[in-house]
């Protein structure tokens, strides 16, 4: 049973890691979800025992054959944390999509580098982040999809 649990945890973790290294950012988020769920499985695996429900009055009358409730509580907490964090990551991806028009990690990096280079041609004051005049001369194909930053504050 423990071997089976270990195999499942490792397979899920491996799948999550493979997805984490992909270009498409939605797959990266799915990878993170898989990885956090693999840790939840790991938590559950630390309480693998046959026993009755740990609720009074106990079915068998003996407390040492009840399942471990602490493991279940930890797993629930970890699941909720994973859910919240996954929602946050998806919101971030949506923000990136609204800014760049796609969710491909490489293309976003290229677009960002272009913007950073254009900003570097300004005076040396990186805190004043305005869109410089040089950016409007950039390649119109790429620029057309890069919309103005989202003003939904």
């Amino acid at each position: 049973m423990i071997l089976l649990a270990a195999l499942v945890v490792s397979i899920v973790f491996a799948a999550g890691t493979y997805l984490l290294l992909q270009r498409d950012l939605t797959r990266v988020v799915v990878g993170i979800i898989l990885i956090s769920n693999s840790s939840v499985l790991f938590i559950i695996a630390s309480g693998l025992m046959q026993g009755g429900a740990p609720i009074y009055p106990l079915a068998s009358g003996r407390p040492d054959v009840a399942s471990d409730p602490l493991v279940q509580a930890m797993a629930l907490t970890a699941l909720v944390i994973g859910f919240g964090v996954a929602a946050l990551l998806l919101a971030m991806i949506y923000r990136l999509y609204a800014a760049y028009g796609n969710v491909d990690a490489e293309e976003i990096a290229v677009a960002e580098m272009r913007e950073a280079e254009a900003l570097d041609q300004l005076d040396e004051s990186p805190e004043i982040e305005e869109i410089p005049a040089e950016e409007q001369d950039a390649d119109p194909d790429e620029r057309a999809t890069t919309v103005k930053p989202l003003r939904t504050r």
Binding site: L20, L25, V28, I32, I35, S36, S38, S39, F42, I43, S46, L70, V71, M74, T77, A78, I81, G84, V85, L88, L89, M92, I93, R95, L96, A98, A99, Y100, A105, I108, A109, A111, E112, E115, A116, E124, S125, P126, E127, E129, I131, P149, L150, R153
Partner: protein
């Protein structure tokens, strides 16, 4: 001995004040000045409650309480000892100063003050946690709020850096959670004192894998050398206040976690792995310093400087013993203040700012009378106290080399930003400049009157070695 109800209030207050205030302020418009100042007042009250807690801890030893009034062994333990309190004090101080700085420059998000309060609540919760899983929960609270904080940029370019930060730190959190679950599996408890007692009875071969996993998770959080790749991407282009909070408050989670879980809970495994820890610290110092010297952009130099500085903490941790732990704690505290001054001053212009930045630069280099000298001195002492003569010589030479390189890159930044005369650039708001100068003055004061901080660090290290209850 204070009675249990006072204990309960003492330990819960630093977590409850920012949490409740965050819930209230999240509904209001944080861009307005008075709401920002209300949040700052809340942080000030939280700081005062921590000072009260600190006096109680230093006078009477560790203050513990069980949440919800449950019996011992059944409830979640909250424990305030000198180690947790010193980290909480410095983290709240840095967050408070960063908030005042941002208010004087103009807050851009409605949620910004509430976010900072949530980070404070999470940080205080984890510094005062006596239960491993509770530590993890507050760790996640602080980290989730910080993921949102790294997105605090004017334009949406650089949002990718926030995403990278989130993904990498989540990976660290998952590894840490797996480590906690494994500790539960082998010791059968989540209470830190119980885990410490039971882990010593087990075979070190199995426990060291768990120790390695937890070590990796916290090093990822700190930005130590092999796990540093996310740091420059996140710091470059971020606002000064956000960078100051990331390096001055959130990095403390890593230092505290290594001290608490490494030196406190699994000291035998830390001793077994001390060679690897020393090597990683060395590589981090050298890599950070060399990269910092070769960069041009101010934020990049400071980011690599952060990577280098945490190498000193790891070095002191690897040396171990009361001298080593004192050095690690002292260096973490001083480093948090240094990074606060440097990042905040690098974002401003005007007459007082260059003085503040120079003080911060002296502090990073370890030149008296700035507080950084204390940290370097403590690490030197720890280096001399290492086991063999060869190791001692190598460590002392390394620390000296790191100090020299940090002097070099700090003044490279100073030269580039503050020495070139820039008449057409207007000075930043006076309030922000005063805030930064105040923090720099604090560095000077700590450097000139070092005894309180050194005594506090020694008490905190005594908690780890078991000298004091």
């Amino acid at each position: 001995m204070t009675d249990s109800s006072t204990n309960h209030v003492l330990v819960v207050l630093p977590v409850a004040i920012p949490w409740v205030l965050a819930a209230v302020l999240a509904l209001l418009n944080g861009r307005r000045r008075w709401i920002g100042l209300l949040a700052a007042a809340g942080l000030g009250t939280c700081f005062a409650s921590l000072v009260w807690l600190a006096t109680s801890v230093l006078r009477e030893g560790t203050v513990t309480t069980i949440a919800g009034g449950w019996t011992e062994g059944a409830g979640i333990l909250l424990r305030a000892d000198a180690l947790g309190v010193i980290f909480a004090l410095v983290s709240v101080a840095v967050i408070l100063i960063a908030l005042l700085y941002e208010i004087s420059l103009g807050v851009r998000w409605r949620l910004f003050p509430a976010l900072l309060l949530l980070i404070t609540a999470g940080l205080n919760g984890l510094f005062l946690a006596g239960d491993a899983f509770n530590f993890y929960v507050f760790f996640e609270i602080a980290m989730t709020a910080s993921f949102i904080l790294t997105g605090y940029r004017e334009e949406d370019h650089q949002m990718r850096a926030a995403f990278i930060f989130a993904v990498v730190n989540l990976l660290g959190s998952v590894i840490f959670l797996a480590g906690i679950a494994a500790l539960y599996t082998i010791t059968g408890s989540l209470d830190m004192t119980v885990i410490t007692a039971r882990a010593q009875l087990l075979d070190p071969g199995g426990v060291i894998i768990i120790g390695a996993a937890i070590f990796a998770a916290f090093c990822l959080k700190l930005g130590l050398f092999p796990f540093h790749f996310w740091l420059p991407a996140v710091y470059v282009g971020s606002h000064a206040a956000v960078a100051a909070i990331l390096s001055g408050a959130l990095a403390n989670i890593g230092s505290y976690g290594l001290l608490r879980f490494g030196a406190g809970i699994l000291p035998r495994e830390l001793k077994l792995g001390s060679g690897a820890v020393l090597i990683l610290g060395t590589m981090s110092i050298v890599y950070g310093a060399l990269q910092a010297v070769s960069r041009r952009n101010t934020s990049e130099v400071l980011a690599y400087s952060a990577i280098g500085q945490v190498g000193y903490v790891i070095l002191a941790l690897g040396i171990g013993g009361p001298v080593g732990y004192t050095a690690a704690i002292l260096y973490s505290v001083v480093n948090a203040l240094n990074k606060g001054v440097l990042f905040l001053a690098a974002g401003l212009r005007g007459p007082l700012v260059s003085v503040a930045f120079a003080i911060g630069a002296f502090s990073v280099a370890g030149v008296p009378p700035a507080a950084g000298f204390l940290g370097k001195l403590a690490v030197f002492k720890a280096g001399i106290a290492a086991d063999t003569l060869a190791v001692s010589l190598a460590l002392v030479a390394l620390i000296f080399l790191g100090g020299a390189l940090s002097f070099l890159y700090s003044f490279q930044i100073y030269q580039r930003r503050f020495m070139a005369s820039n008449d057409k650039v207007e000075p930043s708001p006076l309030a922000a400049r005063i805030v930064v100068t105040g923090l720099a003055t604090l560095l000077l004061i700590v450097g000139i009157f070092p005894e309180p901080l050194v005594l506090f660090s020694e008490t905190a290290a005594g908690v780890l070695t078991g000298a004091r209850p």
